[in-house]
Amino acid sequence: MTITIHVKCAQDNWEVPIEATATIAELKKAIAGVSSVPEDAQRLIYSGKILKDPETIESYKIQDGHSIHMVKSGLHKKSAGSAAAPAAAGAPAATPAAPSMAAGQTGGFNPLNDLTSARYAGYLGMPSASTFGPDGGINSAPDQEELLHMMENPVVQSQMNEMLSNPQMIDFMIQSNPQLQALGPQAREMLQSPMFRQMLTNPDMIRQSMQFANMMNGGAPGGAAAAPGAAQGGFPAPGETTEEAAEHAAADANTSTNTNTNAAAANPFAALFNPAVNPFGAMGQGQNAGANANTPAFNPALWASMLGNAGAAPAPAAPDNRPPEERYETQLRQLNDMGFFEFDRNVAALRRSGGSVQGALDALLNGDV
């Protein structure tokens, strides 16, 4: 009986028809015919086993349509020394390794890693072209209205919700905020409470708190005017320093959390949408929280830095730890249907495009991955 075996090697994929009774040595000969990899440079792996020459295909229970992996050795090793080879034809697993290695090096869970993948290009909350002035600097903080608008977007809302219901994300938020760390287990409770979620996701509440912020700011001009101070990360804005503003808000939050009134919910956002505490300031310099780190108490500025993270990276909302073949299952199938069979390249392309088949196609066709 003749069966067809898929042979995968790095970017290549061959279909090799062969008798089920053939030996592995014969199989290698057949592979050499289609792949130009000499038999003695082939190492074949099937189901976690290295296939040995004298055994037969039957003995390994390889069946029609199954896949075996081929790893080039010997010859390839020599050329790999010249460093050019991996980039060219070979690159055994270089493509899949790149993202995973990056992830491996940070050790833990860091959803912000993904930002580098350009996966979130075009997402709301990323600084748009209009954020940067003619000289290239940031000349205006995101307008309050813009933020509101963002929060009213159901996608952003659902992402925030998802983010807050993911315990791993909560851990990450706590770890990346010294103040939250100081709060200890309370922080987790707080972040997971439906109340808090409501606070972060209800546009009405935010609008309320923004009005509040404006009042507290003594009628200070809106986001754009105070932004130069914010953009420079803690330099005094006209009239009032950021620290003053934050402390102001902190004091307020303290009292109101105690009273536990409706205002309690609104207040933390006073700082959040206080133009002096600029989410992008946090993104750029990560100093928002730092500047106020000497305030041990519940500090609304940290919501700002948190939301700064969240606003800058809506994607952490859905930190996805599923293996790519699961995450991109439908997209991969589509790519397969279109004749792209190289799993690793397809995944790399989908990663870059954030799961968009169209984007992945572009990347594949341009040879970007």
Partner: protein, 138 residues
């Protein structure tokens, strides 16, 4: 979400392994294809590039106990390897030193374990560790 029973899960993993879905940097399958309990598995990891593991194939034995996937599988290197999470006398992956086994989740698969081990080989601290001669076994 309902739990997928052990046998279904393992059958799914078996199919993924045999058909070669998933990245080519690792591979796994039943040690004995007639093993109906699907307990003993073989795995291989292709050493990550730009490390001392490059171009090496590491063989592993994976044992999925009766409580898999509620409990992590037992993972043991057959090929000798110098890695902090691997017991240097037996080749076993020490669960408390390897985050994927230590913080095991039901959604993890053998592929997760193999890929994470491969990532572990590629970390800055581990990729330059001197490695025993290829082909030697525990």
């Amino acid at each position: 979400m309902s739990k997928i029973p052990r046998s279904f899960r393992l059958l799914e993993e078996l199919e993924n392994g045999e058909k070669g879905f998933g990245p080519e940097s690792c591979s796994y399958g039943l040690t004995d294809a007639d093993d109906n309990t699907m307990t003993n598995w073989n795995g291989t990891i292709l050493g990550p590039p730009h490390s001392n593991h490059e171009n090496r194939i590491y063989s592993l034995a994976i044992e999925c106990g009766p409580n898999y996937p509620d409990e992590p599988p037992k993972v043991k290197f057959i090929s000798k390897i110098n890695l902090p999470c691997v017991d240097q006398t037996s080749g076993e992956v020490v669960a408390k030193n390897f985050h994927t086994l230590r913080d095991w989740k039901r959604s993890y698969t053998m592929q997760t374990v193999l890929l994470d081990l491969r990532k572990d080989m590629a970390t800055a601290t581990n990729k330059k560790l001197p490695q025993p001669e290829e082909g030697s076994t525990f």
